[in-house]
Amino acid sequence: MAVLSGPRPTRDTQTTGRPGGPRGLVTTFLGYATLIFFGLVFLYPFVIQLGNSFKSEPDAAANPLSPVPDPVDLTSFERIFEGTAFPLWMGNSLLVTVLVTAGRVFFDSLAGYALARLRFRGRAGLFAAVIAVMAVPGVVLLIPKFLVLNQLGMYDSYAALIVPLLADAAGVFIMKQFFESIPVSVEEAARIDGAGVFRTFWSVVLPMAKPALITLTILSFQGSWNEFPHSLVAVQDPDLFTLPRGLADLVSGSLGSGTQYPLKLGAALLATIPVAIIFVVFQRYFVRDANDGADKG
């Protein structure tokens, strides 16, 4: 985008109506009306989810639109924790998410740093390969991944859930872009002081990459917490189910008989809460990522 290199105006300078005057008022009114309408469209389903998971089954069936449970009924949550393997799924999801996130942040920054700063034979080709890998559609890889896991004897194990997700091309790309924005002089100073390559990376450059590391951590957390298709082809033992897998099983599998909507909505709600908290706390990092995507176009 050539526009990016031009002089940047201050943000929010779009004008869609003159201040004051009847036209401005109408525009403002229409603007708020649209915002509120779409705000409801985008948030009300979550409100319904929250309200209905505290309802009794007949109440949820009779008043699905109402956000207020009458009476408040906690049996669905009791049954989530006592009647399903929810705690197990939660534990598995936590384990997988923590290990995958740690692995991605470490491995992706190592590779990103090497691709940004170290001169080694095959670097250009490797970077092209990373870009190409980013373009491979994930769903096409379901059967292939199963084949490899099976062939390596990893199928149906924690390793199958974790190892294939330990690195991702998009993360390498984000880290490489960030490392390139750090001035070389910093590293040169460290080198002159006698630091080796790894030491320079670990104690000088990496601490400067905090914003990128936070972004990558959040994206990896969100991605692996929500990951569904991979767990579908990596394991089949119910003891290894992660939350999305367990939830899908709850809806379409053995427990799917009958409606049991408060139970299902409650389980889905509990699965959403960690990501929702991360989102609310770190909103600006989510937004930054999407902006970076637009700049590539």
């Binding site: 779009q14 401005g24 090497a114 379901l142 809806v251």
Partner: protein
Amino acid sequence: MAIDALAAPATPAVPPARRRRGGVRGNENLAGWLFVAPVVLILGLFLLLPILMAFWVSLTGWNGQGSPFTGDVPVVGADNYTRLFTEEGLARRDFMTSVRNNLYYVAIVVPAQTALALGLALVVNNRMLKGKAFFRSAFYFPSVTSSVAISVVFLFLFANSGAVNGLLALVGIDGPQWFADARGVLHILLGTVGVDQPPAALTGGGPFGLTWWDWLSGPSVAMVSIITLVVWTTSGTFMLMYLAALQNVPAALDEASTLDGASRWQRFRYVTLPLLKPTTFLVVTLGLIGTWQVFDQVYVMSQGDPAKTTLTPAYLSYRTAFRDFDYGSGAAISFVLFLIIIAMTLLQRWVMRDRDAGRRPWWRRRVPGRS
């Protein structure tokens, strides 16, 4: 190097210097590869190698027993592929049904999510309004949540006596049984004008084993609810992309066109929209790639039912391999899907470029994005 040699012509000094330099470079070479080794290993092992293995499996009739790489597995050559396209049978019928479903899905989701994303971005970018940060987050929030969890919520919303039908009842419409109704919306629309039976011309035959009447069904009612869900979850992401682009539109440009007497619509149509073209290109391309991969929602909400009207190639490939244990066919479907996605991306690229070049003669063409 040369300066070193000049400065210290004495022979003993040169070799250590050279060795040391080579050492640093060699050190960096080694370090570079050590740094990228884990990523190369993981991506190679779980991305590149699988593709090669799956291609081999797509040429076999492997049923999941033992290893597909021994001599015991029947090699069937291109059979798995021809069964999808040329041979009469269930395999082709299911595959073509899934392609039809996905075509309607793409044709509605991509324009809808692009338009909605642009619309939301324009509203959120409005200087006059307060509280935009909140709404921006509200619109984006569904994009970061789990697709499985969201699907559960939408199953409830679209239940027979659910919230959507409750809303429809408020305006006097008797809502359908969303996940049991296999009728295509085009067929339903034709039904309201009295065309209940397909004309003979459309049932006689059609491409790839489906009748023209089947091809022209429109998305089924069940598919419409999945479409609603996906547009709802994805437009927030694309809104952010549009928003980033809008905030880089120079204000002076807008003011100049206002002074020239352009109306709001003209400013949008002839100033803003052309400047957003790179973003639109990105959004549509990502949309095309994403919509051909719809899987999670189908798995959770409908499993391809009712009457296979929510079957998509991605889900069909999974089902063929892991439920029917026909890994060869499943892998073949994956590869065809892979080609479809690549073809869509290239087509979209070509359409955008062609229109750009065709609109004005070459001598008046400007550098895109700069005016």
